[in-house]
């Protein structure tokens, strides 16, 4: 009898490796052996395959079955090997030819009645298959959308094992399909949950805070909003993601890949086109925020927020481990999770928004609702570690809105649509400047390139020098001020940043403690 051979993909983070599934039916008492470091989720494929084959009216080979997964040293986890194993057995049993599965990657979990169930990670698997030079991909129907995003590979969407076999054998698809359609209870909806009808107009007053948010959106800068409860920090942060421009196709694929691995891609719109907005709670576990989990390392909130916004409300309440883990992604745009059994790297280039109360008691010292002493308040603030603080470009103290401000309506120039237009214009200038270069926003430019390509003029550079010499800025802070100055120039439509832009960047970075107060009236 022939040996069955099919191809599948093992995922490791957002990258994958092609796995060869070999099956052999040999004479002997019925038995089953599966080699190649299978996880229990793969070992149980035997039971699913058997039920699916029998219920699809195929013969279950009543002999000694040997299934091997190559490469043997790579751990295989997940139920997406089911279909590849099932088809390899059918080839070994002579029901299909090996030729019909040539250069074809097969993904999918088998239901007991022979239906194909959707699996996570189809998009990165499709990318792996395409870059390995394979030409055809068989996926469950519900995963076809994301698989088709990848160019250069034919996608066959199948509903059941019978349909799949008929397709491969070149037969007519079965009309009396045994698979009864049931309502698919899909995975939880998308993790990014911003509601587009929240408009920036809902936030009254807060002229300076609005400006901070606009600058942050324009240049991809991180923001820290501090202030007493009820001042509007959370409202502002929640209205941040809609200010950002749509993701480019490349970015969208990157983001969708991560969401695919997490099994969060909705069926009807497999491509995440809007920047995701993730707001983990401070009580969430560390792996859920930074990534980790069981045998497969899953992306955490910081990776799901890739090319989008990560909002940490009540930031000092997050565990110190979370704060420490933020340093690598803030600097490099990725997170590596290493363990004894293996490592995974996920992209995590997010825009960070931190919000914090001035004190753990939730009161405000200004109106005497907080009776805590200064030491306690300072300690609370220090829970956000220095290294993270130093990577924040915009720090702003959000003060409570006065009654007069509450009553004053905000003009249309402060609406989400108007701000997004200005942000998009500024982003266009950056895109033009960084044409053919890998970065997108001012905040992405690496330090070395920044100094070479985007130097300040003498007058503006002097401002930064003085700030560093006076100890107001670290050297990293100085580089960040330069990036911000460029963003401010982009927003103003200037060719390059001058002294006023630089001073304002300094002002935004240091929460008005240093530099001139150059408040801009964005309110009509």
């Amino acid at each position: 009898m022939p040996t069955g051979m099919t191809l599948c993909v093992a995922l490791d983070g957002v990258t994958g490796r092609v796995v060869t599934v070999e099956a052999d039916v040999s004479n002997g008492l019925p038995g089953w052996s599966l080699s190649g470091m299978p996880d229990p989720s793969v070992t149980t494929a035997r039971d699913r395959c058997r039920a699916a084959l029998v219920n699809s009216r195929f013969r279950w080979p009543d002999r000694r079955l040997t299934v091997a997964l190559y490469p043997p040293d790579l751990p295989k986890v997940g139920s997406h090997y089911d279909l590849a194993i099932g088809l390899a057995l059918l080839v070994a049993d002579g029901r299909l030819t090996c030729e019909s599965l040539r250069r074809t990657v097969v993904l999918g979990e088998l239901g007991l009645d022979g239906r194909l169930r959707p699996v996570a990670g189809v998009l990165p698997a499709a990318i792996t298959a395409a870059s390995a030079g394979l030409t055809r991909l068989i996926v469950p129907e519900s995963n076809a959308g994301e698989a088709r995003l990848v160019p250069g590979i034919d996608v066959l969407a199948v509903r059941s094992l019978r349909e799949c076999v008929a397709l491969l054998a070149g037969d007519e698809p079965p009309v009396d399909d045994l698979v009864v359609p049931v309502t698919e209870f899909d995975s939880a909806g998308p993790a990014w949950g911003f509601v587009d009808d929240r408009d920036l107009l809902d936030v009254r007053g807060q002229v300076q805070a609005r400006w901070c948010v606009e600058v942050a959106a324009a240049g991809g800068h991180h923001v820290f909003l501090e202030g007493p409860p009820g001042a509007g920090k959370t409202m502002l942060a929640e209205r941040f993601a809609p200010l950002l421009p749509d993701l480019s196709l490349e970015e969208a694929i990157e983001v969708s890949t991560i969401h695919s691995v997490a099994g969060l891609l909705p069926r009807d719109c497999p491509l995440v086109r809007r920047p995701p907005f993730l707001a983990p709670h401070h009580n969430d576990t560390v792996p859920s925020v930074i990534g980790g989990g069981g045998k497969t390392i899953r992306p955490g909130a910081i990776s799901l927020a890739h090319r989008g916004v990560l909002f940490l409300d009540e930031a000092p309440e997050f565990r110190p481990t979370v704060h420490d883990a933020l340093r690598q992604p803030l600097e490099g745009g990725f997170i590596s999770i290493r363990r004894a059994e293996g490592a995974a790297t996920f992209p995590a280039r997010f825009q960070l928004i931190l919000a914090a109360n001035p004190c753990a008691c939730g009161g405000d010292a200004a109106n005497a609702t907080c009776g805590c002493d200064a030491t306690k308040r300072r300690r609370y603030g220090q829970r956000i570690s220095g290294p993270v603080r130093d990577r924040i470009d915009i720090k702003h103290t959000v003060l409570p809105v006065s009654t007069a401000e509450m009553l004053q309506p905000i003009g249309q120039t402060g609406s989400t649509t108007a701000v997004r237009e200005r942000v998009c214009e500024a982003r266009d200038r950056q895109a033009h400047r960084f044409l053919d270069l890998p970065w997108i926003t001012n905040a992405d430019v690496p330090v070395v390139e920044l100094r070479q390509r985007c130097p300040l003029d003498a007058e503006a550079a002097r401002v930064v020098e003085v700030a560093v010499a006076s100890g107001w800025l670290t050297q990293r802070g100085a580089d960040r001020v330069v990036r911000m100055a460029w963003t401010l120039a982009d927003l103003a439509g200037a060719q390059r940043p001058g002294k006023p832009h630089t001073l304002e960047a300094l002002h935004l970075r240091t929460d008005g403690t240093h530099g001139e107060s150059l408040r801009r009236a964005q309110v009509a």
């Binding site: 004479n27 002997g28 008492l29 019925p30 029998v54 279950w60 009543d62 002999r63």
Partner: protein, 124 residues
Amino acid sequence: MTATYAQRKALGAFGERVAARFLTELGMTVLDRNWRCDEGEIDIVARDGSDLVVCEVKTRTSGRFGTPVEAVTAEKAHRLHRLGRRWAAAHRDRVGYARVRVDVLAVTAGARGAAEVDHVIAVV
């Protein structure tokens, strides 16, 4: 519907007849049937070239209780091999010192049409 003892016995006998015919058609010689000793029973003893073949026949009417071949465990197969050696010892004059092999014949008797035979060669 639960089959009576007589029905089960009749089905078993039918399966063994089908199996014996199947083996003969393969060119094997049936030497003995339903040989018993204190350790158990051999359904069919046959000769295939130089091999002495101990055949276990399993007859089923449906696959509802698993496939027939599955009903033969490794332990059972080894017991059959031991029985085969005892049969050979008892019939040394006829077979000499032949190599003993265990085959399983799964007979599926459908409601209509011919019975199907699944022949698993040399499980031990």
